[in-house]
């Protein structure tokens, strides 16, 4: 049987990769994909804990995380389309109207 801490370690590493991608990519679509990566890391953690603690609630929580991720992707990509229509760019460092 694979120990629980291996799954938690995998989840941490994937989450950290997602954080790095979100903080350092220039393209806003890849930033959204990094958010999906972080949510997937959380789901791995929740489902492995649900299996090892023999409780179904972790999977229910992962279910809701997936539903919210779908909503977040739809809204986020609509914002990207609105941004692209107004500024004709998807690079976060070229959108600087709010800089003082």
């Amino acid at each position: 049987m694979v120990p629980l801490s291996w799954y938690m370690f995998l989840s941490m590493v994937v989450f950290t990769i997602g954080v790095f991608g979100f903080l350092s990519r220039r393209n806003i679509i890849i930033m959204f994909m990094s958010i999906e990566l972080m949510l997937n890391a959380v789901n791995i953690n929740l489902i492995s804990l649900s299996h090892y603690l023999q409780d179904m609630r972790g999977q229910i929580l992962a279910f809701f995380v997936i539903a919210v991720a779908a909503a977040e992707a739809a809204i986020g990509l609509a914002i990207v389309i609105a941004l692209f229509r107004n500024k004709a760019t998807v690079h976060v460092d070229e959108v600087k109207e709010m800089r003082g």
Binding site: V2, M12, A70
Partner: protein, 170 residues
């Protein structure tokens, strides 16, 4: 032994694929690597006796969200994207922050205390089937959050249409 080998393969593949997703220059390649990543994560869920979650992972993520990403990626100018630098100037700050976060989370795992096991043992789930056990819990104890999730999806549909539609000229 064979379980550890399988887990080692999937963990290695998931980590390598997530690094590929965030470092590819061409966004279409990123989306396609992410498709492979989601299939690997779904097979990890199969190890954990969560067949329904594996199916949902493939249907919702690979079938829904990634197609949405692919459509939006087609909007932008790939030729310009391939030419310019893919990271922002302050990427070492992001790397330092992410590495520090990893160290802090790894240190926090030592204080993790395993709770007493619940009633959903593997035998019970096998006897009742996974989808039925999940559905029973979802439609009784978690009915109210389930309705709230449907409201969130409705708001997402309306919000996406309002944000993405063209302004009417007047």
């Amino acid at each position: 032994m064979i379980q550890e080998l399988f887990f080692a393969y999937f963990a290695f593949a998931i980590v390598v694929l997530s690094i590929l997703v965030i470092t590819r220059r061409n966004p279409v390649h990123s989306v396609l690597w992410m498709l492979l990543l989601f299939f690997h994560i779904a097979s990890l869920y199969l190890f954990l006796n969560a067949e329904f979650m594996a199916a949902i992972q493939i249907i919702v993520y690979a079938g829904g969200i990634l197609v949405l990403f692919l459509f939006v990626v087609l909007l932008m100018n790939i030729r310009e994207e391939v030419r310019i630098n893919k990271f922002i100037g302050a990427w070492p700050t992001g790397f330092t922050f992410a590495a520090g976060l990893l160290v802090v989370i790894i240190m926090s795992i030592k204080s993790f205390i395993v709770a007493p096991p619940g009633i959903y043992s593997i035998d019970l789930i096998k006897q009742e089937t996974h989808t039925k056990a999940l559905g029973k819990l979802l439609y009784t104890e978690f009915l109210y959050p389930f309705e709230v999730a449907s409201l969130i999806l409705l708001v997402a549909i309306i919000g996406a249409i309002v944000l993405a539609k063209r302004r009417l000229k007047h």
